[in-house]
Every structure is written in structure tokens, then in C-alpha cells.
Symmetry: C5
């Protein structure tokens, strides 16, 4: 008999829902301070320069070099992985003429998804999701995208391996129409592949919910509740991330920026539909999980009460029998039954009958 503890596994850490803003409150706006986790690896800056069939693929060592790309007539994709070397980021920002507030937002990895139009470029920030190894927690990674006239710059926290590998491959191998299109199509491809990562996460969660529902039916255990609660928490987190994204993409699609060509609008509308789909699914999962918690609580409580009922039934059968036995345990001098030859068997018989009568009565009442 152990002390009953309702939940055993530790909950997921809360910190993730609200990453610490390390900037001391009150610092001047525009201060460049990276708020994510510190890493040892160096920040890498990859350049993919393409136009039709010609593709250049190399690392950028001197951030100031980026300024040259603004003049070239090819599409340049500057992909920065890792944000922890603020100086590098700042230099890139300066050579691309980014507003200080944009740089601050790129480094503050607790940004709400948004889209902002500036004179020369459009700034988009959103979250990418990776499933952790335990498959029940999601790790967010902030991605900032700058869409300029002839370049695209992406800034990733660099938590996971090369997420845009697939797009890069398509460009290198000149697959699909991507190399024939303007930079906005590249931005669309990036956002599309990020939204796709949401679907993978939701699929995994869908599987877990399915499994939990079956557990709930067959054998609700104590950790089932913890699991449901944990998933509901992740849904809260996802909703918080995707809700503003919906608006950001909607603004991008309906936006008047000249940087986004007419043909891309159609693609953005498609991405917008996917985002709504993600939101709908998240909401449906939340509703289902809430319903599951209610069912769980009532089923656990019912199971316990059923146990209590069975225990009470057992007691209730024995108590009258004990009463009869104690009658014949009385010491009155004159108790006729005690002298009967078969008195003992008679008493046992009565007890058995009382016991059976109660049992039958309980059966009739459907209590057993």
C-alpha cells in the first residue's frame, strides 16, 4: 500500500510558454540582446544565389559582404543559422539596411508571429516546431524572414539541423518552378514548408490522442490524466503561436507591397487556408481533450465508487450474519435453541439463508 499520488511523471517545463526576456526592463529600445539559449557552435551564414540555371552556393564569412548582394540581379538567399553572436547579426542587419527594431525582434526569440512592411523590405517572423525525442513536447524555433527586392534573408535559432534543406535541394537541382520565380516565391516556399511542419506535429498529436482515447476506454490509468493535461497545454501553446500567424499571412496575402507579385498571391492564399486548417484542428483537439478530461475524472471517480460499493456490499452481507451469531453467543440460562440437537446447524442454516437472501436482494436491485 503506497501513498496514492495522482501524477507521477513531471509535467513539461513551463518556461517554454514564456521565455525569459533577458533584456533588463527599461533598456533603450533597439538594444540588441539575444534572448534564446546560449550555444557553442558558431553562427553560419549560407548564401544561395540563383537565377534560372546558374546557382552559387557558399558560406559568407564577412557579413558586410551582404551589402553587395543588394545590387546583383540574381536572387540571393542569405540563410543565418544561430542567433547567439549578436555582432554578426548586427553587421548583416546594417549591410541590409534593416531598422534597429527589426534587428531587436530577430534576436528576441519570444516574438509573436507578425508581418511588417517597410519601405524596401517586408519583415515576417514566425515559429517553426520540432517534436522533441519524447514525442510529446514541441520545441519552438523562431524564424525571421526578410524579403527584399532581389534577396531573401532568413534567421533561424539553429536548434535543429538544416530545416530548409529540401528547398535548397530544389534550387540546386533546378526542380520545379522556384528558380524561375521572384524572391517572394522563395518566401512562400519557406513559409509553406514551415506550415507543413505544423501538420506533422499535429499528426503526431492526433495519434497520441487516439491512443489516449483507447486507454481511456479500456484502462484509465493515473498518468492518462497527466498525458491529457500535457497535450492540452501543448495545444494552448500551439494556438498562441498560430493565431497571430493567421493574421500575419492574411496581411501578407492582401498586402499592397510591390515586393509580392500577383502570381504569388494565389500561393499565399493556399498557405492561408492551411493555417486556418491548423487552427481548426488545434481547436478541435482542445475540445476533445477537454471532453476527455471530464470523462476521465468521472470514470476514475466511478471506478473508485464502484470499489467502495463492492466493499460495502461484502460488509453488509456479513453484518446481519454476525448479528445472528452473536445472538446465540448470549449467555441467557434459558435459550431453547441452544439445547436443540441440530441447533448449531439450524443457526448456520439461518445465517447462510440470510446471507443468500441479501445476495439475491442485491442481485435483484442490480447492485452486484
Amino acid at each position: 500500500m503506497r501513498t496514492p499520488t495522482v501524477v507521477k511523471k513531471p509535467y513539461i517545463k513551463l518556461r517554454r510558454l514564456f521565455r525569459k526576456k533577458k533584456k533588463a526592463a527599461g533598456l533603450p529600445p533597439g538594444s540588441l540582446i539575444y534572448t534564446g539559449e546560449k550555444r557553442v557552435e558558431r553562427v553560419t551564414v549560407n548564401l544561395l544565389d540563383y537565377r534560372g540555371n546558374s546557382v552559387t552556393d557558399r558560406k559568407i564569412v564577412d557579413p558586410a559582404e551582404c551589402a553587395n548582394l543588394l545590387q546583383s540581379d540574381t536572387v540571393s538567399w542569405i540563410d543565418v543559422e544561430g542567433l547567439h553572436e549578436t555582432e554578426t547579426i548586427q553587421k548583416i542587419g546594417e549591410s541590409l539596411n534593416l531598422h534597429p527594431l527589426v534587428l531587436e525582434d530577430i534576436l528576441n526569440v519570444d516574438q509573436r508571429a507578425k508581418m511588417e512592411e517597410f519601405e524596401d523590405y517586408v519583415y515576417i517572423v514566425l515559429k517553426m516546431f520540432h517534436l522533441k525525442e519524447n514525442e510529446s513536447e514541441i520545441a519552438p524555433e523562431q524564424v525571421s524572414i526578410i524579403l527584399g527586392k532581389n534577396y531573401v534573408a532568413t534567421f533561424q535559432e539553429g536548434i535543429e539541423g538544416d530545416t530548409f534543406q529540401e528547398i535548397r535541394e530544389r534550387i540546386r537541382n533546378n526542380k520545379g518552378i522556384i528558380t524561375k520565380m521572384t524572391p517572394d516565391y522563395l518566401v512562400y516556399s519557406i513559409i509553406d514548408s514551415i506550415i507543413d511542419s505544423y501538420f506533422s506535429v499535429l499528426e503526431k498529436f492526433g495519434d497520441r490522442i487516439e491512443t489516449l482515447e483507447e486507454e481511456l476506454v479500456n484502462n484509465p490509468e493515473k498518468q492518462t490524466l497527466t498525458e491529457i493535461y500535457r497535450l492540452k497545454r501543448e495545444m494552448l501553446f500551439l494556438r498562441k503561436s498560430v493565431w497571430p500567424l493567421r493574421e500575419a499571412i492574411s496581411r501578407l496575402e492582401r498586402g499592397e507591397s510591390e515586393l509580392i507579385t500577383r502570381s504569388t498571391h494565389l500561393y499565399l492564399r493556399d498557405v492561408y487556408d492551411h493555417t486556418i486548417n491548423v487552427l481548426d484542428t488545434v481547436e478541435t483537439y482542445r475540445d476533445m481533450l477537454s471532453g476527455m478530461i471530464d470523462i476521465y475524472l468521472s470514470s476514475i471517480s466511478n471506478r473508485l465508487n464502484e470499489t467502495m460499493k463492492y466493499l460495502a456490499l461484502i460488509s453488509t452481507i456479513f453484518i446481519p450474519m454476525t448479528f445472528i451469531a452473536s445472538i446465540y453467543g448470549m449467555n441467557f440460562e434459558i435459550m431453547p435453541e441452544l439445547q436443540w440437537v441440530h441447533g448449531y446447524w439450524f443457526a448456520l442454516g439461518i445465517m447462510a439463508m440470510v446471507g443468500i437472501a441479501f445476495l439475491v436482494y442485491f442481485k435483484m436491485k442490480k447492485w452486484v
Copy 2:
């Protein structure tokens, strides 16, 4: 005495709420991949070509043939049943000049209902519902509709038999006004018959809810909860499907596409009203089911507690009687009652009186 399990029948499968997107995340947009279930039957492409009295009805073997229909001055209804042969679909799409994204959407059977205007055609996608044989689950089937200048193309998953049989009959037999109207009226007829299928489903569910309510009143069983939960889940699913449909039809009705004639707007308004009616009913059912869950839980818990009360009452009557018996079971040398001639009957009498007194007291308290 069996181990109490709260629910016995397995819940409906969850997968349906979120069908797996088989496309690997990150594939280039426009990739044609069918995401529904694989089927063995061949995809069939029916053509119904009509104008006034003249009606042609045949199968299309070569998808490229469709291109010719664009020039004809009759209304051509190309009805594709089955989506699992992506090549066929692609060829039809190409001969009708459809945008790659539209083709992708047609094949991805987890689409949100939507309406999109293109230059030459309007694309509408929505869900049709069939009740499974067990009558408590709904099977969704995605229907994509292309409305062109002089043709209508419909793409069904082909799960159930010919759903539009009735419309086809009307055209063949030249019943009603359909053969005198433009293609948009055909589109309206198709959507109307799909919405009608929602009403049939809701009617069936209404019947079930009615039955469940009576069960709830007379004899709430454990599977009653499972049933209620299951229905609530279906409502979640229906709402998720119908909510965007409302907007899609509203946009269709208010739309500025020249493909939709003035007289059809009136009919679309009617369909719009039906959609709202479906939504209202779904919401009302959800509210009712939620209320039923509360009533169920409280009635089950009350029933259990009433049982406990009766058991406790029985024990509580016997315990004082046993106490009296055990008094006369004491072995004191001097216990006057023990020598009384009628001592035994006196003791039994006292016990009976105590028992009856408690019973009367409980009756007065209305506990029995």
C-alpha cells in the same frame, strides 16, 4: 462481480478527424499526391452533355478529350468518381487549364470547404456525408466542383454509389428547369443535394439523441455515456466541416464572378439559409449533448450514492442490535437478566425494538 469498466464499445476512430497528409512535409507546392484511401476500382469519368432537349450521356476514356468540351456550346458535366489515379486527374486538369494548386487541393481530401475565383473558372470544394452502417458514424467524402463557362466538373472520392444520380435523372428526363439553365444552376443543384445530405444525417442524429434522452430518463447505462460522447464528437466534426462551408457559399452568393447569373444568386441565398440552419442545429445538438453529459454523470453518481446509502442503512440498523447481543454475551458472574426466565425473549424483544426504532427514525428522516 466483474471489474467495473466504464465504457465497453470502442470509440470511433480518431483518424477521421484529421486524415494523414501523405505528402512528405516540404515537397514542392503543386505536387499531386492523393491523400485518401487507396481503392482497387478504376476511376470513372462520366460525361453528361445537354442543352434543352438534347442530352448525351457517355464515359470519357481519354481525359484529354475534355479540352474539346470547352469549345462546345452545350453544358458539359464531367463527373469524376475516384481520385486515386493521379495521372488521370492531372490530365483532366491540364485539358481544363486548371491551376496546379487546384489540382493539389482536389487530391488532398482533407481540404477545408472553400470557394476560389480564378480567371476562367470557379473552384468549390466541400464535404458530403454518408452515414456508416452502424448509423452512428459519418463518413466524409470530398467533392470538388469546377464551374467553367460552359462546363461543370465534379471530382468525388467515390466512397459511396452514385450520389448525384437523382440530378442526372432530372437532366436525362428533362425534368424541371435544369436543362434550360446555365452551368451555375447545375452547380447550385449539386450543392443543394449535398446540403440535403446534411439534413438526413442530422435527422438520424436527432433520432438518436431522442432515444438517448429517454434512456437517460429511464435507465442510464454505462454505454449511454459512450454514445453521448461519440455523438458530441461527431458534432465537433460536423461543425468543423460546415463552418467554413457557410463562408464559402456566402462568398459564392455575394461573388462578382460573371459565371454566376443573377437568377442563380437567389437559389444560392436559399442554400446559404439551409447551411445556417444546419449550423444552428449542430450547435443546438452540442448544447443538448453537453447538458445530457452533466445529467448523466450526476444521475450515475447519485444512483451509486443511493446504493451506498441503502447499504449503510442496513449496517446501521444491525450494528446497535449486535451491540445489545454482545452485551448479553458478556461473562460477568452477576448479570441479573441472564437468570430471568424470559430473559432471552426480553433481549430479542429489545433488539427488535431498537431495529424498528431506527427504521422508523430513518423513515421519518425520509432516508428510506
Copy 3:
């Protein structure tokens, strides 16, 4: 001891929340099929023709006659009671030039309240409510109103007696301003008297809620819950009906139809305010009923638990006393107390003391 059943009276029928659409799904739009209950009485068509002091009041036998009224310069009120003779309705519709969809809507008595402007007329459909004899259920009756240039046509299901008797009287006796006004004022009067019927229903429900609250305070019975649940259900139903009505009247008031004169707008605004008032009251009642369910459940459960507590208290007092008695029932050869002259009384005394001590302790703890 009866098996505890939580609710005894049958719930109201569900069917009413969603009346069966008898039209087979997939029939051509515009099919005229009456979806209400079949009745034996004949459909009656009354005509009230008035202008200032001159009033004609007669039955219409040939529906085609209605066409003539369109030319007259008096206000003609065609009041149709009973919808089950579809042919009659169809003929009236044709002679008034009504759109087939309008006729379909008139006959389908499960319409959502709405207002639709056509070229020559305005179509309004809404629900009227009658309390059934048991005073706790409401019977809906659909009323369709056609407002033409110089006529008004009303179509009632004809469930209850002449509901518009009072308006008719006012016209016949030339009371108030009604006979001096255009047909739109008559429409306003009809809608106003329908909304008034909502207030009567809500007043009755208000009385019931009041009674139930007092029951809840003094003596919550099992059927109290059924009653509350039933009322909440009626509120769901009312809300479903009144919510779209609000929008319909709002559109009527703000509408641009030339059929509605400026002075009538003011009156419609008043009716609109009443509708909002009805909605507010329905919402408030729903909130109150939800609160009452919570209070009910907790009070029933508390009452049961209190009973359990008292029973447990009784047992807990007797168990230690029985323990003492059983000590002196042991058969050890050497038990000094057994030989004491007053041993028996001593033992009884101890038992009494233990019993009293526990009682006092429980009193101190405020458990009794």
C-alpha cells in the same frame, strides 16, 4: 425501498427542435412539399379589404381571385390558415407572382426566421409561440408574411385559433390609425403582436423559474432537475428561433425597400428593441437555469452525503461500545472484573461513558 430512478416524467419530445423534412433529399429545388403535421380541417383563406372606413371581410374560395386584388387601390389582407393543401397554396402563390423558392419556404415549416426583398414584394418568415396546456412546453407555429404594394398575405400553420383576431377587430372597428396607413403598417402590427406572444411565453417561464428557485431552496426534489433541464431546453429552442429574427427585423428596419414607408421605420425600430429584449431575457434565463443546475446538483449530493455522515456517526458510536462488550465476552479463566459484584454495571457504565464521550466529541467538532 424502490430502485432509485433519478427522473420520472418523460422529457419533452425532441422532434420539435428539428422537424422532419419530409422532402426526400435530392428533390429538385422548388418542390412544394408541406413538412408540418397533417390536419383534417380545410385550409381557409380570409380576405380583409380596407381603406379608411370601408372594410370588406369575406372568405376567398377560388385562390386565383387573389390576382385581382393586386390591381385594387385598397389594402388587401389575405390570411391563409392551414398549409396542408399544397395546391391551394400554390395557386395563391401563382396569382400573387411569388417565386417558387418562396412557396417552398412557406410550406417548409422548419424555416429559420428571415427577410428577403424581391422586386415586387418582401418576404418575411418567423415563428409564433403558443404554450401547450401543460404550460411548460411551447408549440411553434410558422408565419410567413408577404408584403406587396397594396396587399399583405399571411400564411399560418393554423395550429391554434385565430391569432390575429385582435388586429382584425381593430381594422373592422376602425380603431387606431391602422386603416389610415399603408400595408407596411399592417405588417408591423402583425410582427408586433407575434413578438408580444414571446413576452407572454417568457412571463410564464419566468413564473416557473421563480417557483423552481423556491423549490430549490426549500425542498429540492428529483423532478426539480428534470424541470430545470426541460426549461433550459426550451430556452435553447427559443434562442435558436429569436436570434435570426433579430437580424431579419434589423434588415427590415434598415432596408431600402420602397414598400416600407418612413413613418413605419420608427415602429419597426420599436419592434427591434422588443426582440433584443426577448433575447436578453432568454440569455439571462439560461444563465440562471445553468446556475440552478449547479446549485441543485450540489445540494442533492450534499443532502445525500449528510445522510451518510449521520449513518456513519451512529455506527461509529456503537462500534467502540461493542468492542468493550466483546472484551467481557472473552472466556479467559482469570478476568478479575468478571467476579466483581457490580462488574456488569461497571461494564455498562463504561460503555455508556464511551458512547457519550464520542457524542460530545462529535458535537464539539460540529459533526452532529
Copy 4:
């Protein structure tokens, strides 16, 4: 031991939430019927006529007199207290040229707060609140305000003493800027003082909630729930009243009526902010009260269960001890312990040990 009744004090009357509309449903619109409570006192009509320093203050005996005030160039404030003499009200209405619907609304004291612009005047109706003596119920009083070109007419139900005394004093003593301003400023002052009365009511309720929270912490009694429920009900009522007021004042502020001068708009904006503040507070109180009900229910139920646990602990300690005693009460011929000299003490010792062992075990489990 009394039958446990959960609530003792009667709830507040429900009637107030929906005052009976005494007008028979179906009366012609514009019928003047007072729907409030009948009173014996006479209706009084006070006139306050001012412009700069000159102030006239007298009673109006003949309602027709009001017509003259329309021509004067002073600001005339006609304040009617008591609405139960419909003829007087009607005469005033006629002399001020009010629309029949406005008069009907003035007399129907169950109006939703609203603001309506007419050609010559603006009509505003809202509720004033008085705390009843028991300090936990609010009594509503309807106030109608007519703002004309050079007059203001107010109609109060007259439940409480002179509510606008303070404003009257300011005018009489020429305090503040009121006598220099146009009538719209007077209307603003009246509304402002009414909203102030909401704050007083909310402050009182805030105090009660605070007290209840402390009761909840220290000693939740059964009537605590009744109190919380009662307060929540009052919040429902307040919200129902204030919600439409918000819109009415917003329309007044943004309105285009020439009767409201530019400088007054600023003041109205201030009143609007106060109304929002009232609404926010009402919502916050509702949320708090809901939370308190949950805490209350769980704390009551926990307290009961704790009691049950202690009772069960007591029983559970004595039952094994009784078992041991009953072993030595068996009548076997050969039971070695019975012959032991210290057998009795040995048995008592074992019992004591078992009892103590259980106690210690329970302590370890933290059950005691």
C-alpha cells in the same frame, strides 16, 4: 439532528428580472399603459427654469403649460416624479409633441436602455439603481430623458426620494458651469449622476464580496452559497441593464444630433468611459463569484469527506480489536491462552498494540 437543508433564507424575488408587462398582448401599438407598481402618492411635476443667474423653481399643475416652455429662451427642466397617472404623462407628452411610441416607452418600465434621435428631440431611457435596506438587493428605477432645443424633461418612477437634488442645488446656487451651458450639458449631468449611482452600488457589492471571501476562507457556512448565488444573480441583472446603456451613450457621443454641442461631446466621452468601467467591474465580479462558487462547493464537500474519513478511521481502529476480542470469546474446549494466568492482560495488550499500530500507520500515511 435536523434534516439538512442546504439553504435557509429565501432567495430574492425573481419578478424583478422581468417585470410583468401588464399590457395584454396584442393591444394596438402606442397604447399608454403603466407597467410599474401602483403608488398612492400623486405624480409631481417640477419645473426649473434657468439662464445664467436667473432661476425659477416651481411646480407645474397643468401639464398643458409645458407647451409654452418650448418658446421661451431659457433652459427649462421639467422633472416628472411618478408615472402612475398616465393621463398627466400623456398631456405632457402631447404638449411637448412627443411620438406616441416614446410615451409608451416612458410608461413601460421594463425598457432596455436606448437612445433615439427624433426630429425635434432626443429620447434617452436608462435605469437608476438604489440599494434596498438589506443592502444586498438593488431596486431599479427607470429614468426617461427628453432633450429638446431649450428644455429637458425627465420622467422618474419615483421609487426613491429626489435623486437629482444635488444637480438642482447646483443650478439654484449657480455653482459650476451648469447654468451657463446648453440643455445637453444638463442631460450629461443627469446621466453622470446616474452612472455615479452605479459606482456606489458596485462599491457596496465589492465590500460584500470581500466579506464573503473571508467567510469562505475561515468558515464557509451554508448561507455563504446563497449569498454568492444572490450576488451573482444581481450581477446578471446589472449586466443586462448596463450593456445596452454602453451602446446608447456611445451613440449619443458619436451622434450627429445638433442638440448636442461640441463641448458636451467631451463630457459624454467621459461618461462613456465610466460606463465601460462599470461593465468591466461587473464582469470581473461575475468571474470572481463563479470562482468562489467552485471553491465553496469543493471546500464544503471536502469538509464533509474529511469528517467521513475521521469516522472511518475510528471504526477501522476498533474493528480489528473487536476481532481479537471475539477470538477469545470462542468456546473451543482447548484454547491454551485462556488458561494462562496473564492471558487476559496478554489479550488486552495485543488489542492495545493492534490499535496503536493502526494509529501509527495512519499517522505515517498522514491520514490523521
Copy 5:
């Protein structure tokens, strides 16, 4: 055994949610009455006058002096700490030409956050938050900001030390761009630093929630509930404060006032995003806390019920054993077992077997 009290620590005071409006209801509008707490310290008025490199920093003794600042061509920041000397505030207000209603709002420290444009200046009022020493309550401090053509005036309640110290330092040391900018940039900096204070508060609360979640998992204590309830209450309070702020900043950003330069709009948009982020976090925390309350209640109730189950198990094992003992305690003359040599051991063996059988049975049922 102590009387079980569910909560021990006193709740936070309610007063804070609704600070008493000390102004007697009905006072003329524009009355200057300070509604915050009285303080002994003197009100201090600091002036910071800057333009580029030249910075003047001094105390203002005569409030009338402020009028001169309106003419200077430097940016003047008048910072008033403490509001309890209404005369000083009034004089400053007059010399800055503020509207009486603005002055009233500055002194009434229970203002809803808002932004109001006047001809010469913009008025912004919002709340700043300090964590009290116990780290679980927040103390609000109202800050009013006046943005004029070449000055900024801030009015703080003065509860905590110099909150804007950091901004002042930046100006004094000519750090960042602040001294080169117009007064609207200063206003932005102030608002930004206030919003930053929200983040600090939320971070602290996030930590507490995290700790509470772990407590909930490992060892839910009674005060855990109090803590959760308290935090939820603070969230209610925060939401009530931040919700209107969102709108105020949005209006500031989109506003047309000439006092706000184009470049500042960008910064305001950034602040707006932060505000939304705060709101999202508050809502997420509320959802989490609600979920935690449910989990808490169910885990406490389960723990109690588990205890009851164990107690019932113990009783249920001993009751049948006692029954057997009482059988052999019967006094029948002929009971064969009693004469058996090993009868006693046989009986003990049967009892042990019965006890063990029940134990095994319970184990099998997983009740132990």
C-alpha cells in the same frame, strides 16, 4: 485531529480590484479629488529640459512656472511624483491649459487605460505594476502622460521609487537617439518601459505557476489551491488593466495627431505588439490556472477517496473473520468443532485463510 479548514492564509484584499471612489456620487463633474492613498511625503515636480547635448535637470517649485516651458524650443519633461496635493496638480494643469476633465482623470487613480486627443495635446493614462514584497501580489500605480507640442508631462502616484530613472539617465548621458528626437519619442520610451514592467511581473508569475504545477504533481497541499486562486485573481486584474491599454495604444499608433511623427509610429507599433503579447500570456496563464484548479480538486478528492478505500478494505477483511469467530462463540450445546483437539487452530486457520483470500481477491481486482 484539528477541524479541517480548507484554506489558511488570508486571501489578498479585494479592495484593490475596485478602489473606492472617494468623490461623493453626484459631485459636479470636473471636481478635483484624489482617490488614491494619502501619503506624507511632499509631491515633487522634476524638470528635465533637453535638446541635443544641452540638458537641464532641476526641481520645479512654483507650478505656474510650467507655462513658460510651452514657449521654449527645447523638449521639457515635467515629471510629477505624488498626486495627493491636489492644488499643486491643479496649478500645473492650469499652466499647461489642461481640460478640467483631464485633471479629474489624473487624480482619480481608478482610471481605465485610455488615450484622448485634444487640440493642443494628447492625454494617455495607463497602469504601471510593481510586485509587492510577498511576490504574489501586484501593486498598481497610475501614470498619466500629457504629450504637448514641445513638452511631456507625467503624473505618477509615487508609490515606488523613481521608475523612469533609466530613461532620465539616457537623456542625461545623451545615450541612444532619445535627445535627438521629438517629445513623442520620449512618450514612446516611457510607455515602452512601463510595458517592460508587465513582462517582469508576468515572468515572476510564470515562475510561481511552474512551482505550483510541480507542487500539484508531487504533493498537492491545501494552500496550493489558495495560491492558484490568488494567481487567477491577479490575472483577472491584469487583464482588466491591459485590455483597454491595447486599444489605447492602437489608437495612438493609428492616430492622426500631428504630435506623433511618422518615425515614432513604427516604435508604437512595436509597443502595440508587446501589449498583445502580454495579453496573450495573461490569457494563457488563466487557461492554465483554470486547468490546474480542476486537476487540484480532482486530485484532492481522489486522494481522500483512496484513503477511504483503504480504510474500507481493512474493515472488509476483518468483518468476515470476526463473523467466523462469533460463530464459534455461540453457546450451542452440540457444536462438534468445539470438542476437536485442534479446533481452535482450525478456526484460526480458517480465519487466516478467509482474510488471505479476501486480500488476494482485492489484489486481483487491483483494489490494493
